[in-house]
């Protein structure tokens, strides 16, 4: 399958501080990929590099086979872009803004836009800047749907939205992407939203990729075990786990390993575990488990 996005050896520093080093990932056609990471791990940096709005200190990204730093107008027409905060030209009304963008895209479809706008409760002459964040996000979504791009790059689509608008966004997006075999690359800090939307997950932590796989795979293979123990274990670093948290007697252990491997470690180190069980976790739990609470 063709890769719509390819990033090779991507490295970036802010001054001398490294954000990530030698990042490699691909986004195949038709996948809905979510980029997860704590603040400062480089999510927006990655999106900026992809859109050509940031020059990485090393490495390259390619979209449709073109260097993302010098995308041709033809390629840009095939990419839909949502700016963080649903930033738009607020001095226009919803009619004016649709008319403006439609001039640039030959395949512009205004029906999906106005369908969405019909749901909005706004006066025809109301400027977008006077609308609520939720309403603005709907406008942004409508414009992207009307553009009908092959690739959508969305920088934190949840920002500032209440649950209603977030749900609307996700439903529309997922439907749109699935129906047209579109490729989506998105970030969000609300992980439940991501869970509803994405097929594939890419998790950044400590300057590198710590997980890149289909969401189902990830949820299947990344496990959380809980147990209680009387022992105060100082050093869990030798455990077959990514993160271990002990609060008094209660221990949470997050790992890629199987249950027996964990149990073997516990027995091997003389740690008596009681009430050992695997907890069912959602994406947010898994994410925190993988990247830690701090």
């Amino acid at each position: 399958m063709e890769n719509i996005i390819e990033c090779k050896n991507l490295t970036h520093h802010y001054g001398t501080k490294p954000v990530f080093e030698n990042l490699n990932f691909n986004v195949p056609a038709g996948s809905i990929l979510g980029l997860l990471g704590k603040n400062g791990t480089g999510k927006t940096t990655t999106i900026n590099i992809l859109n050509g709005f940031l020059q990485p200190t090393g490495g390259q990204c390619f979209i449709f086979g073109e260097d993302s730093q010098h995308l041709s107008p033809k390629s840009k027409a095939r990419i839909g872009y949502l700016l963080e905060g649903h930033i738009q030209y607020g001095f226009m009304t919803i009619v004016e803004i649709e008319r403006y963008y439609s001039a640039y895209y030959p395949g512009w479809k205004k029906e999906p836009y106005y369908e969405l706008m019909a749901k909005l409760d706004v006066a025809p002459n109301q400027k977008i800047s006077s609308m609520s964040t939720g309403q603005r996000s709907q406008v942004a979504l409508g414009l992207i749907l009307a553009q009908d791009p092959e690739l959508l790059i969305l920088d934190d689509f949840s920002m500032g939205l209440d649950p209603g608008y977030r749900r609307l966004f996700i439903d529309y997006l997922r439907e749109y992407a699935r129906a047209g075999n579109k490729t989506v690359f998105t970030t969000s800090h609300i992980i439940q939203d991501m869970e509803r939307l994405i097929d594939d997950v890419l998790i950044l932590d400590s300057k590198q990729v710590v997980a890149q796989q289909p969401l189902n795979d990830f949820m299947e293979h990344f496990r959380k075990f809980t147990f209680t123990t009387d022992q105060k274990v100082e050093d869990w670093s030798k455990a077959p786990a990514i993160n271990v948290e002990q609060l008094n007697q209660h221990v949470e252990l997050y790992t890629w390993n199987e249950e027996n491997e964990v149990k073997a470690f516990l027995n091997g180190n003389g740690i008596v575990a009681e009430n050992f069980s695997q907890e069912k976790i959602n994406l947010e739990d898994a994410f925190i488990g993988l990247t830690g609470k701090y």
Binding site: K76, L83, Y100, Y101
Partner: protein, 223 residues
């Protein structure tokens, strides 16, 4: 696409444009009123006398209007684009980025030219009735550097707005301000003529200066 861009820019800054259009027309009207008032008070012959031999400058009220107009329109046009980096939306359109930037300033130039030419035409046509060719030419020579300065100020302000590192922006403002004073130095009537061709060339050069700072802005270069 240009038509769409024109409409967008018009919507964005139409009140500023209308405001400065009014100010410019008022400025031209004041000139005509002053001239006619002087003729009424002292007679045309004496007016010609002080214009020719006493360095009377009835145009001095028009001096800084183009400058303020150029700077204001540049700020009105581009500060909204730079806030929240909105201009990313324009850069993301399927148009080459430099082309988009030149189209944006093309719009600004169109607006400016409309305002300046209206002001100039009203002023010159008005005085054509009462002043001889020589004095009309003198008027044009006096006004020309101020209008060129206005266009230059538009482009240099745009250039400065895109520079977001504070120190460089300050230095660029200093250099740009010093440069613009070359258009506004005090001179006797008709004296600026030899400098006009060079000033015109320099003005045209400034048309391209914002591409550099806008590139730095686009790529997030902050050193």
């Amino acid at each position: 696409m240009l038509k769409a861009l024109f409409i967008k820019e018009w919507i964005k800054i139409r009140w500023i444009l209308i405001g400065f259009f009014a100010v410019s027309l008022f400025s031209a009207a004041k000139l005509l009123l002053d001239i006619h008032h002087q003729i009424e008070l002292m007679g045309a012959g004496n007016l010609w006398d002080i214009l020719l031999f006493n360095n009377f400058n009835p145009y001095r009220w028009m001096e800084y209007v183009p400058l303020v107009t150029g700077i204001s329109i540049a700020m009105a046009q581009f500060i909204p684009e730079v806030q929240h980096k909105r201009i990313k939306l324009s850069f993301h359109l399927p148009v080459n980025e430099n082309r988009m930037l030149m189209q944006l300033t093309l719009m600004g130039n169109l607006f400016l030219l409309t305002i300046f030419l209206s002001e100039l035409v009203i002023a010159l046509v008005g005085i054509t009735f009462v002043l001889p060719k020589k004095l009309i030419l003198d008027a044009l020579i006096t006004l020309a550097p101020w209008f060129l300065g206005g266009i230059t100020a538009y482009h240099l302000t745009t250039m400065v707005v895109f520079e977001f590192t504070a120190i460089r922006r300050l230095l660029l403002i200093l250099v740009a301000s010093a440069f613009i004073t070359l258009f506004y130095q005090s001179a006797t009537i008709g004296a600026y003529r030899p400098a006009l061709p060079l000033l015109a060339i320099l003005t045209i050069l400034t048309f391209f200066t914002h591409l550099y700072t806008a590139y730095r802005f686009r790529k997030g270069i902050n050193q």
